[in-house]
């Protein structure tokens, strides 16, 4: 069977298993367990088949993203094989254990699904042959560990622990990513084999140190090294199988694995020595010290895990090949004894209902098998001879002694190592003694008993491994270890021996000292330790990880909120200020950096009337600005003044089309704003509060406004007086008549040269009209504006007070003359609109202008006769007009496709009609018709939709004083004033 197939099977089996498990019914416990067991056993089988070949290293390449150097490379050598064995082997045992551990009510398939997915990710990490791929799997392990820790997410502890774990490890993962990126850049490839062979170059590279630090952060967070260790104890909120699997054998070993993997590349420098060594040492001591004080079984195991991880880290940091061997060896050993201890703790928890050592006692009577297995495992943890823990710890002590020759640590190193070993003896002893010995427990929730046989079986297997390795290492672990070591160290593999007995040497002495002092310490301090109220070590209890983490997160959020408050806003005014200031400042920077604007004196003489006109325009504009707050109506009139000046300017400066358009738009806009004004309650000047702050702000605003005005004026002047550019416009002037059949070049531009713009523009108009219509359907007026306007109430009450008059007579009288005139004007304006439309191509006019004129004809009828009357007599279907207009315009454009020309190609011809003469016919006219139709529809829809609000009846009952008699009085009392609608002055 090809090895690449096996490699891929190894990784894809658990993935497939995870997917399958996620689709199992909620309570299909046995099916899920069977599935998971099958998968893991199959993996083990694959692994077994790969054992021989992995020694020389096998790989399978799947190209994925070659351009950025990410390919899927699965690769197995001695080291990764060993890790894969741990992952699948312990995985299989955990699967079995979990089947009995998890309750029947749990949705177990989800658990197994996550577990298998995690296993796949872990296998991915150790099998990655590409740095980035490794990071990918790395982050996936974080993710699934998060999901597994939070498996019981109804518990706040689980959620919190999971969050903390993911936050820390994912952050580390991000650092690792950058580190790997740098590593890859230094090596020239992300391929692991390339990187591994580029050690020399990398260590000499400028980027080595940043890369090292980033990679170490990744490894330290994952392997819970000081100062990133805090998440691990909180991850104990996970179900025990998860702890046994993730927090002893796999997840936390990922960091170790990574550093072992990259040991040949990264180690050997002082930076490595200092960083890795000190982190390892600190973790070793802190973990061991804290473990002593834990009352929670899993807490003790968690801190002891920290300590052992620190030990391995320290070994790796020593820059010695022999230490590296010890590190690898201890990794395996720790996985076996710690997993079994976790499982044992789980059994105790499961059977007694508690993990609190203060409540546990004398369990050996109830569960002798579990107790004896746990004792062996604990002894391995303590480093008792004939167990695997002893062998690797011995190597560790020997290495610390060997390193003491170097000046940095001198004798401190072996001393501290021994101290830590003594601590480990102490907490192991406490674990066993406190739990299994002594009187029977008093306040256990359940009466303890031996668990099901198959639940003990995994522990037994692991303990057996501890024993076998401890007693006959040469026959068991040696070949596997050797393969791993060679894979890492290659030619640098040192001589080492796994014999139990190396004779009397300093390491043995230290071992003995540690053992003895550990026991002594326990004997002396056990009462004080057991009485410790917090279950936390002295000195360190202040640094409650969770509280620190929470406060850090809270501070982060506070900082973020502060930044948001300070550097962002939700109000409109500051945003509009920025909108003006940013272009202003950037414009000024540009002008300033390039030596300023050169102002030309190439100007035409000032026409005095023009200046007079703009005197009026300017005054109107400033007046409108001044009045807009308290006298909206006045502001509107003033704006009308400015508008007419604009219109005259267009007349003056050769733009008749613009003048007409401006005028018509002006008229329609005025009516529109007046329609809106009815719904804006009056704003009272006498209520105005003037503070110093508001004065200052207004002053600032005013100066910004003036500066903006000046800047735009300068820009205008500069652009106007520049030497004329060689514009594309001459083309239009030359071809408008000959090639587009129109004399009014502006109109030809609109309907032919740039008809596409016009198509978009009318679409805008249509969309806006539809939107306005939609908004107004749900319109709710301001409370104060809901009542009938004051004028109408006054006039209506006058009408009803006089016997001879009927309500509404004042209005009828008022409109009698205008109505006659406006009705007679209706056909005339329509004809005028038609005229404007027809002449557009040659003379000022066109579809847009005509459409506006036409819509004014309708609006006048609405004003003169009221909405109801007008709609009873004229059927206006503005929405249909809009749709139709769009269709006509588009149809006119698309029609050219039939003749094989691009969209909106127009065709024109001068047609001779008998008797009448030559008539220009252009298809652009059809397009213009669409414009016309749409403009009529859209304008009418906008205005009429707004006008309709007046005749709607509020659904909410008007509870105000609208209908009382005093309202009939015209007296404008200040109280009533606030209820009035817009008052013109």
């Amino acid at each position: 069977m090809p090895t690449s197939f096996l490699l891929l099977a190894l990784i894809s089996l658990p993935i497939g298993g995870a997917l399958l498990a996620s689709w199992l019914p909620t309570y299909a416990r046995n099916a899920a367990a069977t599935l998971a067991a099958t998968v893991t056993l199959a993996c083990l089988l694959c692994l077994a088949m790969l054992q021989g070949v992995s020694a020389e290293g096998v790989r399978a390449d799947i190209p994925w993203l070659p351009s950025i150097g990410i390919n899927l490379v699965f690769r197995l050598d001695g080291l990764s094989w060993l890790f894969a064995l741990m992952i699948t082997g312990i995985g299989a045992l955990v699967v079995l254990y979990a089947r009995y551990y998890m309750s029947a009510e749990d949705p177990v398939p989800r658990f197994y699904s996550f577990l298998l997915a995690f296993m796949a990710a872990m296998l991915g990490v150790v099998m990655s042959g590409n740095l980035i791929q490794l990071v990918i799997f790395w982050e996936i392990t974080s993710l699934f560990s998060f999901l597994l820790i939070a498996y019981w997410h109804q518990s706040a502890n689980a959620r919190e622990g999971a969050r903390m774990a993911l936050t820390t490890t994912a952050a580390g993962g991000l650092c690792l990513l950058v580190g790997m990126l740098l590593l890859g850049k230094m090596a020239g490839s992300f391929d692991l084999d390339v990187v591994l062979s580029a050690g020399e170059r990398i260590r000499a590279h400028d980027l080595y140190l940043p890369a090292l630090i980033l990679i170490l952060i990744g490894a330290f967070t994952k392997s819970a090294q000081f100062p990133f260790h805090f998440w691990l104890p909180h991850a104990m909120a996970a179900p025990t199988p998860v702890s046994a699997y993730l927090h002893s054998a796999t997840l936390v070993k990922a960091g170790i694995f990574l550093l072992i993997l990259l040991w040949p590349v990264l180690s050997g420098t002082d930076a490595w020595y200092v960083l890795v060594g000190s982190a390892g040492m600190a973790t070793l001591l802190i973990g061991a010290f804290a473990a002593i004080y834990q009352h929670d079984l899993k807490g003790l195991l968690a801190y002891s895990t920290l300590s052992h991880l620190g030990l391995i880290m320290l070994l790796l940091g020593l820059n010695s090949p022999l230490a590296a061997v010890a590190a690898i060896f201890h990794t395996v050993n720790h996985a076996t004894f710690k997993a079994s201890l976790f499982m044992a703790a789980g059994i105790i928890d499961h059977e007694t209902g508690t993990r609190d050592m203060r409540k546990l006692s004398g369990l050996i009577r109830y569960m002798p098998l579990t107790a004896s297995l746990a004792m062996v495992a604990a002894a391995a943890m303590a480093g008792v001879p004939l167990l695997n823990g002893f062998l690797s710890k011995e190597m560790f002590l020997a290495e610390t002694i060997a390193q003491s020759s170097s000046p940095q640590f001198s004798y401190a190193l072996p001393a501290l190592a021994t101290l830590a070993s003594a601590f480990s003896v102490l907490y192991s002893l406490r674990f066993i003694h406190k739990t299994f010995f002594g009187p029977p427990p008093v306040d256990c929730p359940h009466t303890p008993k031996e668990p099901p046989r198959w639940m003990i079986f995994p522990i037994a297997v692991l303990v057996l491994i501890c024993l076998v390795i401890g007693i006959i290492p040469g026959l068991t672990i040696a070949p596997l270890l050797n393969a791993a070591v060679v894979a890492v160290l290659g030619d640098n593999t040192p001589y080492y021996s796994l014999r139990i007995w190396h004779g009397f040497n300093p390491a043995l002495a230290l071992s003995v000292i540690a053992l003895v002092s550990g026991i002594l310490l326990y004997v002396c301090f056990r009462n004080r330790i057991n009485a410790n109220p917090r279950g936390a070590p002295p000195f360190l209890h202040r640094f409650q990880a969770r509280r620190l983490f929470d406060s850090l997160m809270a501070r982060l959020v506070m900082l973020a909120r502060f930044m948001e408050r300070r550097f962002s806003t939700r109000s409109l005014q500051p945003q509009l200020r920025l909108l003006v200031l940013v272009p202003l400042i950037i414009g000024l920077i540009i002008v300033a950096t390039s030596g300023g604007l050169s102002i030309s004196t190439n100007v035409q003489a000032v026409d005095p009337f023009f200046a007079l006109l703009w005197l009026v325009g300017g005054v109107c504009a400033v007046g409108a600005a001044y009045q807009a707050k308290y006298h909206r109506f006045v502001a509107l009139i003033l704006m009308g003044g400015a508008g007419i000046v604009c219109c005259l300017t267009f007349v003056w400066l050769s733009a008749p089309d613009l003048a007409i358009t401006q005028l018509l738009v002006e008229i329609v806009t005025t009516v529109l704003l007046l329609l809106g004004l009815r719904w804006l309650p009056v704003r009272r000047e006498d209520l105005r509060k003037e503070t110093r702050r508001s004065k200052i702000r207004r002053g600032l605003d005013l100066s910004v406004a003036v500066i903006a005005g000046l800047a735009v004026a300068a820009l205008t002047f500069a652009v106007m007086t520049r030497p004329a550019a060689n514009s594309i416009s001459s083309f239009f002037l030359e071809r408008a008549y000959s090639e587009a059949g129109g004399r009014n070049v502006v109109n030809v531009l609109l309907v032919d040269f740039r008809a596409f713009d016009t198509l978009g523009e009318i679409t805008v108009l249509g969309v806006v009209a539809l939107t306005i219509f939609a908004i107004l359907r749900r319109f709710r007026p301001a409370q104060e504006a809901m009542a009938t306007p004051r004028q109408q109430r006054w006039q209506n009450s006058f009408d009803s007070d006089h016997a001879t008059r009927d309500v509404g007579q004042t209005l009828r009288e008022y409109l009698m003359v205008p109505r006659v005139v406006i009705q007679w004007l209706f056909p005339i304006i329509i004809v005028f609109a038609l005229y404007l439309f027809l002449r557009g191509h040659d003379m000022p006019g066109g579809g847009f202008i005509a459409g506006l004129a036409m819509s004014i004809a309708f609006i006048l009828q609405y004003m003169a006769s009221g909405t109801r009357w007008t709609e009873a007599h004229l059927r206006v279907l503005p929405v249909t007009w809009i749709g139709l207009g769009l269709l006509i315009a588009t149809g006119a454009g698309v029609g050219s496709w039939l003749f094989g020309y691009p969209l909106l190609t127009s065709y024109f011809q001068y047609t001779d009609i008998p008797f009448l003469g030559t008539v220009p016919l252009a298809t652009a006219m059809l397009f213009d018709l669409g414009v016309f139709v749409l403009v009529v529809g859209a304008t009418i829809l906008m205005l009429v939709a707004l006008a309709h609000q007046s005749i709607r009846k509020p659904r909410v009952v008007e509870t105000d004083t609208d209908t009382t008699e005093e309202d009939a009085l015209p007296a404008p009392e200040p109280e009533a004033e606030t209820l009035q609608t817009e008052r013109p002055d």
Partner: protein
């Protein structure tokens, strides 16, 4: 000669009309009541129309006639709306 005469007359007329516009605008700005302002605006419209006519004469072209016609035929719409707003508080009932 005729150009000079007509030109001067046109300038004079336009100055007068421009002054008229300024005065009408003064009424718009000064008020005192809203009806005064509306009246001022209406006057402004009519005067602008006349100014456009003189401008047509000045340039000898008919291109501006429609602008004037729009004021004549449709310009009253805005002021009607304003007057009606003053009277009824609503433009379209």
């Amino acid at each position: 000669m005729s150009v000079l005469i007509l030109g001067c007359a046109l300038i004079a007329a336009q100055v007068m009309l421009s002054v008229a516009i300024v005065l009408a605008a003064w009424r718009v700005v000064h008020g005192p009541r809203a009806q005064d302002r509306v009246l001022g605006l209406d006057t402004l419209y009519v005067t602008a129309l006349l100014l456009i006519v003189t401008f047509g004469i000045r340039t000898g072209s008919n291109f501006y006639f429609e602008a004037a016609l729009v004021i004549a035929l449709l310009g009253f719409t805005a002021t009607v709306a304003m007057a009606k707003f003053l009277m009824r508080g609503e433009v379209i009932e």
